[in-house]
């Protein structure tokens, strides 16, 4: 990023090739598989990176900085789309609704149109993740797609390590349930 900040466009190509898939999937999973939304958010993120090239200062890991931008963009998207912040979705009522949605998604995954096992597994997993409350989902995606550690996620989301651990545990439990159904 520093090389790109000094005008080396090739450095950006390397940087983008390394992170583009993970950031794209981060948005795609948050958008419930909506490719158009993921495209829009992904493009916004990287244009922001391009715009910040001269201001970038290596104060933390690049991936942490990158996912901080990505998460801010995601929060903005949630606010504009649903009129609420991510934090407001963490109460118990939302969690209960999410669990009901997981059950519904599990029922919907029995759709006979899914021809292959892979396609079915993907559908189940994604459906299960889509029904995980946003903060848990966000922690899970930051961990498995962004490769961020528990501490990094805690710093990025301004939450305690225990809170992040709890969110991750919840997300894993949900997804494990979906995976067990497949096997």
């Amino acid at each position: 990023m520093r090389a790109y900040g000094q005008g080396d466009a090739r450095a950006f190509e390397v940087l983008y090739a390394r992170h583009k898939a993970a950031t794209y999937r981060y948005f795609l999973r948050h958008a419930g598989g909506d490719a158009a939304t993921a495209d829009e958010l992904h493009q916004d993120l990287w244009l922001k990176v391009i715009g910040a090239r001269e201001r970038y200062e290596a104060q933390a890991k690049l991936s942490t900085w990158l996912y901080t931008l990505a998460r801010h963009r995601m929060v903005d998207h949630w606010r504009s789309r649903h009129g609420m912040a991510l934090e407001s979705l963490e109460d118990e009522a939302i969690v209960m609704q999410a669990e009901e949605s997981v059950a519904a998604a599990r029922a919907g995954s029995d759709d006979p149109l899914h021809a292959t096992v892979d396609a079915e597994a993907r559908q189940r997993l994604f459906a299960a993740l889509a029904d995980v409350p946003p903060l848990q989902r966000d922690a899970f995606l930051l961990h498995v797609e962004g490769g961020l550690s528990l501490e990094e996620i805690a710093g990025l989301t301004a939450a305690s390590g225990e809170t992040v651990k709890s969110r991750l545990r919840y997300a894993y439990r949900r997804l494990r349930a979906a995976l067990e159904d497949m096997t």
């Binding site: 794209y24 999937r25 894993y172």
Partner: protein, 264 residues
């Protein structure tokens, strides 16, 4: 995100089986068109800044009107200041004459020849080549000194002598009175005026400037001093004259020769 990276960041709550299943199914990539658009934007950004940087390097740094003309303006200002300074400085040549110019104003009498004694008139007439100081223009008075030596040293000597002349002028009436009382047998009448004394002394001083004085000048100086009643001064001048020219007495007017014979 590689598997190695994912494993490296594993948390205590992670589930390996789930992570593997997730990695198998989660392999989406952004559309190539989106990649191309983003990379194009990145190139455009760097290209724009590089072109700007090249343009900045190629273009000479902007210099304002003031910056461009500042050296010339400063040089012109210094030159102008030097010119004004030189013009405002007093010229050495003007210093000494300015003192002389005051002589007529400080001298009470204006026509010494008409009221002076015959001896004084004769002494002055003996120096026929040099007109009286009061009637001589300033330039002609100073001209000999300038012609002989253009250096300012000569001018300063002139100024010094002119100052001495002024002092003598102030002391002249007293000297004249004293001479009249001390030497009643002297051929010079006591009614010699201060104006005559000043004129004669100034003339003598003027002659001093024209060095070296010839015999006629020296004789005239002796006569002038005698005429103003400065007998001692006249005697001293005569002695010096004799030292230079043993036949000095022959240059003196007839009226002074008897007195000259009394001078040892």
């Amino acid at each position: 995100m590689s598997n190695h990276e994912r494993e490296g960041s594993r948390t205590p709550v992670a589930d390996d089986a789930l992570d593997r299943a997730w990695q198998q199914v989660s392999d989406e990539q952004p559309p190539p068109a989106l990649d191309a658009a983003i990379i194009a934007a990145a190139h455009k950004s760097t290209q724009g800044s590089n072109e700007q940087a090249q343009a900045n390097r190629a273009r000479p740094p902007y210099r304002s009107w003031l910056t461009r003309w500042q050296p010339l303006a400063a040089a012109a200002a210094v030159a102008g200041l030097a010119f004004v300074l030189v013009q405002s400085l007093p010229r050495d040549r003007d210093v000494a004459p300015s003192l002389r110019m005051e002589e007529p104003a400080t001298t009470p009498a204006a026509a010494p020849e008409k009221t002076g004694s015959p001896a004084a008139r004769e002494a002055i007439e003996a120096k026929s080549a040099t007109p009286p100081a009061s009637t001589v223009p300033r330039e002609s008075v100073t001209a000999p000194a300038v012609a002989i030596d253009q250096k300012s040293e000569a001018d300063s000597v002139t100024a010094k002598r002119a100052t001495e002349v002024d002092q003598r002028q102030l002391a002249a009436p007293e000297t004249a009175g004293r001479a009249a009382s001390a030497a009643p047998a002297a051929p010079v009448p006591a009614q010699t005026t201060a104006a005559q004394a000043a004129t004669a002394t100034a003339e003598a001083a003027t002659r001093d400037n024209a060095a070296p004085p010839d015999a006629t000048d020296r004789a005239a100086r002796v006569a002038a001093l005698y005429a103003v009643g400065d007998i001692d001064g006249a005697a001293e001048a005569l002695r010096k004259f004799r030292a230079v020219d043993p036949g000095a007495d022959s240059y003196l007017p007839e009226s002074l020769r008897a007195w000259a014979r009394t001078v040892e």
